[in-house]
Symmetry: C2
DNA sequence: ATGTTCTATGAAAACTTGTTCACTGTCAAG
DNA sequence: CTTGACAGTGAACAAGTTTTCATAGAACAT
């Protein structure tokens, strides 16, 4: 995915924050006002760039209507496989389920409104409530993480970011995405399954981390 | 909360479904087309009614801009208490976190589009995917349900509906909301704590069920 | 019977919003 | 030194959208 410029990233962040807070998208003029542009066309250009880079999808002609690109799209496989079961590349980010808890005191960037809703991430990552993270949910297939109490059929909430030693991460290995605990030993990095029946450590040369598992959703 | 008419409920359902699917609200004309109204004013009237009844909030003049009301607002208390920690009555329902999995085959009411994203409830209640339920999340306080693997600090997803014997429900007892397992013995109904240290059964004469706990969200 | 609510039509007004056109400037890469 | 990506101004247009006005039948409770 192409890199975003600082301005583009800021605008995208604002838009997502606006949705998380207000539950609807900002208009071009809302964005213009936020960034104090003198012309709507400044915004227009950035939106075009965001769309060209594939992180935002505009619905031509429709007001306040956007979609954002999925963070990770993966094939399926055996073992503990995280499968993208969506119908196509049109997966939607966006929004929050109604969460009543742990509301943020102040969202410094989006001050105008009072009624603030914590996104689904709020109860999970108490630390990062200032911006709506590009979290996404994935269904877990397989049982290689059962010792971490993540079972087949559970849903994990993945949040992009730089993982620390001990984090459970969604990682790309040989083109496949799997859920493992990240282990750093000196200069070496491993992936560890949390199941006595699985090989403990997977040596890794090249590693693509798609995100950190922040919480797990289990059926009752 | 005032009762909605069938038409009003259908329109609200459609709107919420549209958001879950497209990630942005429908315009009045979208709704008009969906229900084959000859006039936009038919929709307009229903939206006014929905707002008057407190389930929908419109942003005057803004296109495709709405908020929906919270489903349940509760006070706090001791024991296994479900607390509404939100700032005020302005909590927002709406939307879904990006979920990639278990896509519904057909949503009979919202047939026009193909790319469908399951809402957060989809992975939880495999049975009820036809409409976006008015689910909400609550933080659990206390440990009276630890034997059901629901711990202090966990978040439960509550879905309105009629509970069966054995369901874990959010119930109003003496004006307080608590999380318990519903037990029906003959004509009697009890609430059972899932913790050996708590009294097993709470006899109930009058019982208000606010919803059924469908899943639990745990931090990793 | 009478008022109220729900439902709806049809047309137009008023406003919001996305889009386009013409033009300027900076900065890094080739 | 030109080219291209990036960032922006200013004005105007076209389309999308909400909102208002006038009108009316059906169901239902008082």
């Amino acid at each position: 995915m192409e890199e975003l410029t600082k301005r583009q990233a800021a605008i995208l962040e604002y838009m997502k924050g606006h949705v998380a807070e207000h539950s609807y998208w900002p208009s071009i003029r809302d964005i213009q006002a936020k960034f104090r542009f003198a012309s709507t066309n400044a915004v227009f250009g950035h939106l075009q760039a965001l769309e060209r880079k594939g992180v935002l999808q505009r619905i031509p002609g429709a007001a306040r209507a956007y979609k954002v690109a999925p963070v990770a799209v993966v094939e399926d496989l055996s073992e503990t496989i995280i499968r993208y079961e969506g119908p196509d590349e049109n997966a939607i980010l966006l929004g929050s389920i109604p969460f009543m808890g742990s509301i943020a005191a102040g969202l410094p960037d989006y001050t105008e409104s009072s009624g603030v809703v914590a996104s689904m991430q709020a109860p999970i990552t108490e630390g990062s409530r200032r911006r709506a993270p590009q979290s996404f949910a994935l269904r877990v297939r397989g049982d290689s993480m059962i010792d971490a109490d993540i079972q087949d059929g559970d849903t994990v909430i993945i949040e992009p970011g730089h993982p620390k030693h001990g984090d459970i991460v969604a990682a790309l290995i040989d083109g496949q995405t799997t859920l493992k605990r990240l282990v750093k030993q000196g200069s070496k990095t491993f992936l560890k399954a949390e199941n006595a029946n699985y090989p403990d450590l997977v040596p890794v040369t090249e590693l693509v981390i798609q995100g950190i598992a922040k919480s797990v959703v289990k059926p009752i």
